[in-house]
C-alpha cells in the first residue's frame, strides 16, 4: 500500500506534501507509548499514534518506520512537521481514533506489523 492510499483510507490530511511519497507501506502499528513502539514495531510500517510531540518522529526514525498518522484529530505543530520534512518522512493527521484507523487499514488488507510480546515466558 502506498502513502496516498493509507491517507485516503483513514480520512487523513497529508502535512508533508514535498517529501518522497512513493514508499511502500508494508504494515501498521498503533500505540501511544514510544517504548512500546520500539519494543514491537517492525520496520517499513505506518505508525498510528495519539501522541503528538517530536519524539514520535524520532522514535519512528529509530525504528525505520515509513510514515506517521497522528490520530484523534491531533494536528502536529510546525516543529514536528519540519523535523519530518528534514528526515523525508511522510506525516498526516486524521480525525479518526486509533481503533477506527487500525480497523480500516486492516480491512483494506494492510497487515499488523506489531510483534507478539512474550515478556513473562514463565507465566
Amino acid at each position: 500500500m502506498n502513502v496516498m492510499q493509507v491517507i485516503e483510507i483513514c480520512k487523513a490530511t497529508l502535512l508533508t506534501p514535498d517529501v518522497d511519497l512513493d514508499v511502500d507501506i508494508k504494515g501498521g502499528f498503533s500505540g501511544d507509548l514510544m517504548s512500546d513502539v520500539l519494543a514491537s514495531v517492525q520496520a517499513e510500517s505506518v505508525l498510528i499514534t495519539g501522541l503528538c510531540n517530536p519524539q514520535v518522529v524520532r522514535t519512528a526514525l529509530i525504528g525505520n518506520v515509513r510514515m506517521i498518522i497522528f490520530a484523534r484529530g491531533k494536528k502536529p505543530g510546525e516543529d514536528i512537521i519540519n523535523l519530518a520534512i528534514d528526515e523525508n518522512l511522510p506525516v498526516a493527521y486524521s480525525p479518526l481514533g486509533l481503533y477506527e484507523i487500525s480497523g480500516r487499514l486492516t480491512q483494506a488488507g494492510l497487515p499488523s506489523y506489531e510483534m507478539e510480546m512474550n515478556l513473562f515466558p514463565k507465566d
Binding site: L33, S35, P54, Q55, R58, G63
Partner: protein, 315 residues
Amino acid sequence: MSNQATLSDNDAGKITRVEELGYELKISQVMTTNVVTFSPDMSMLEALDLIQKNRISGAPVTLNGEVVGIISTEDLIRALRDGRIDRKVSDYMSRGLITAKATDKVVEALKVFQKKNVGRLPILDENNKLVGLLTKGDITNGLLTALQRDYQAEELIRYRASHLFEDIESDRTSLILRYRIIKDDFLHGGAASNHIKKALHRLGASRQVARKCGIAVYEAEMNLIIHTTNGGFLRVEVEPHKITMEAYDDGPGIDDVEKALTPGYSTATEEVRNKGFGAGMGLVNIRSCVDEMTIKSSKESGTNLYMIMYLDKSQ
C-alpha cells in the same frame, strides 16, 4: 507516439533506474563524436579501406556537413558480390535516412532502434549538421557509465567512513562519539540517538545493527532526560568488531535495579507518561536489542549503563 498512456503511480514504481536514465540522458551524452564519414564521390573500395582501418561497421555519407546517406558493411558486400567495388559510394548508399537529434533523450533513439531495422543513427544538431553517430553499443556504454557514476556518488560517503578503520594502522583503533544529554530536554529527546544511528550506518553497520543500537541508545537517552538529577552523557565507541554504548549520570541512582528490569515497571510521573514515556519498557527494550547489558547504580555515584553489540565480519 500517438497512444502513449500516462504512467500510473503503480507503473512508475516499476521503472528501473536504467529506464529512468533513458529519460534523463541526452543522445549527445552517449553518442560517438569523432565520426568517420564518406563522401558520395568516394569509391566503394576507398570506403572499404576506411572501414577496415577504423574498425567500424558503417558510417554516414556527408556532403557539406549534411548527411545524404549511410554505408554499412552490407552495402560493401553487395558491391563486392556485383564485382563493382570501384563504383561510387553514392551508387550503393542507403538513402531512406533515419536520424535523431543530439538534444533528444536516449529513450527516443531506443524506440527507433526497436521499430526500424537500423544498426546506427546519424545524430544531427539543430541545423541538421552531423555531430555524431549512435549505435546500440553506445547506448549500453552510456547507461553503464551513468549507472557507475550514480553508484560511485552514493558509495563515496559510505566508503570514506566505512574504510576509516582499514586506512589507519594501530594495535587498536576506535572512534568515540560523545553527546551531552540535558535533564528534561524533551524537545531534543532522541536527537542524539538518531545521530548515532546515522553515524553507525555511515560507518558501514547494517540497517539491522544500526536500528538495534539506535533503539538501545534512544531508550538510554530518554532515561537520562527523564530520570536523572543533572542529565548525563552518551558515549559510543565504535571498533571494527564491536560497538560499545554507555550512558552515565551522577544521580540519583536506581533504587532497585532488578525491579527496573521488569517489563511494564515504571517510576515515571504522570506528566512524563503524558509525553508518551514511562511504559516501563526502556531497559527491557535495551536488553533485547544488544548482546550485553550491564547496569551499575548507586546513590553516591549515579548510574552507568553499558551496552555492547558485537559485529561479525559480514557486517
